[in-house]
Symmetry: C2
Subunit: 310 residues, 2 copies
């Protein structure tokens, strides 16, 4: 069985959306990723928290097969992000970012993590993402995320990292900014030349696309009556997709396409409620049911169309 | 065989996009719809042109099985729209709208059109859309489009029209403005209560969704390396979808979903070049090939997912 490792943030979020307001709820990319991926595989988590972090949450993670040996505890406060969303829930507005113990984070892997075969480098400084990779000798699949802050501020480190990355997960604006290409297919081609051969472009409420040399895939977003808090959607998506991929024998087109749809389904559960409120209460049959609905939404009948010759 | 009728504009467009500039090229909703639909069925066109309209273009339409008996020729100039698109090709900016002979357009159907069974009411004054419907006693499927100008300016006439419409085709902003609902599913529910039981929401570069009481479908847009002019994409989409539907025995979910994908494919050809430059040169096999590619892009394997019980 493949061993899945994630490095990223473990955080408190204070969030306001048109549907409510929450103070210091649990968040962070490593957290969203792990809880989502735990539906498909055990996970090894690398991150840092302060001594204000609730032990109870760590118990929740452990109970789901998330190994927290790589979670560092430091004197001080846990990373705390505050922000809000307006009617356009695709757009997060940051009010305050207190890095706290995350500011001096240096990812050190326990020995027991070093045989990890699948790695997800969530959105952190690309120099730290590289530092993690250096500690894992033989990964089968390396995936990473990033953000505009690193695209503009640490471009060289990011490009160095990309040479070692198989699967790059980013959003539309990020891929355009990094590549300098307006057309999505041209941007994807540019990224491919930097290293990653699997490129996932997250489209928010429009789903996500996946590009390989051989094929293009698209999973729509699952249509929802209530989107209450989009925080963590991207990492929940990645957790579902990469959690699934870490368990398949062969990273082929069929599995990649399935991973894309699973990611979309997992993200849909996440955004329906704040923090992990929904992810921690859904059942395997809920995931299966939504996957089947998504599959049917885009199932077009095969065979010749009745096209006239003109 | 079902008889398909379209009423809409036949126009000259002067268009500038980041990829070029064209003066007084052929356009208009009835034109885009008809040329697209002609790949699937003969079409009956209702519209108005001035005596500056090129007879050669009418010959092109006739050669494709588009009946122009319902095309009125008036003294004066043909409707002329001028506009431009910036990098966001989803957003048209109007520079000038000269209605010319279209200003006093009163759709009168030739007797030979009155047994039409499928009708597409392209985006014109809802009072004129109603006037067309009154002349066709027994349609099987009535579809219509609209725009913000009528949503705010002729709301009552539009709501009166919708009671007689089976299939409503509109974009995201329009459905939100008309319904007053921000959530798409709530907006769709609101529209359904006004009459139309088939609701198609066009998402521009993200494809289109189709809602019935029973199911939701989504066709992505076909990814393109070159989008040169999005003018007419919505009507070309409608032409493909409704042209196909006019020929099927039964308007069921399977055919509706196929229609959605066909619409997306037809629109993708349209936007690759200006005016009808691409639509008039593609072959049946081009349509079939792109449909198959679109189908594969969203083909997710059936069967149980390897979900852990937690």
């Amino acid at each position: 069985m493949s061993q899945l490792l994630v490095v990223g943030s473990v955080a408190f979020d204070s969030v306001e959306t048109p549907y409510g307001k929450r103070e210091k709820i649990l968040g962070g990319s490593a957290n969203f990723f792990s809880i989502s991926a735990s539906f498909f595989t055990p996970v090894r988590m690398v991150g840092v928290v302060g001594n204000d972090f609730p032990a109870k949450h760590v118990e929740v993670l452990n109970a789901r097969g998330v190994d927290t040996e790589g979670l560092q505890w430091k004197d001080g406060e846990t990373f705390h992000w505050s922000g809000w969303y307006g009617d356009d829930l695709n757009q997060a507005h940051t009010l305050d970012t207190r890095l706290n113990v995350f500011e001096t984070f240096s990812p050190e892997l326990p020995n027991s993590y070093k045989d990890s075969s699948t790695i997800f480098l969530a959105n952190i400084d690309p120099e730290l993402q590289l530092q993690v990779l250096e500690q894992v000798p033989k990964p089968r699949l390396v995936a990473c995320d990033t953000m505009n802050f690193w695209i503009s501020g640490k471009r060289q480190a990011l490009l160095k990292l990309l040479k070692k990355v198989d699967m790059f997960v980013l959003n539309e604006q990020e891929i355009r900014d990094l590549s300098g290409e307006k057309n999505l297919l041209s941007a994807v081609e540019w990224i491919r030349e930097q290293g990653p051969q699997i490129i996932v472009v997250k489209l928010g409420e429009y789903g996500a696309m996946l590009f390989t040399k051989e094929a293009t895939s698209w999973a729509p977003a699952f249509p929802l009556e209530h989107v209450r808090d989009p925080t963590g959607a991207g990492d929940t998506f990645a957790g579902g997709a990469i959690g699934y991929l870490s368990q398949v024998d062969d990273i082929n087109e069929s599995h990649l396409r399935r991973a894309l749809a699973i990611g979309s389904v997992m993200a849909s559960f996440n955004v329906e409620r704040f923090s992990f409120d929904n992810l921690l209460q859904i059942k395997p049959e809920d995931i299966q049911e939504r996957y089947e609905k998504l599959r049917k939404m885009v199932s077009f009948e095969d065979g010749p169309l009745p096209i006239r010759s003109l």
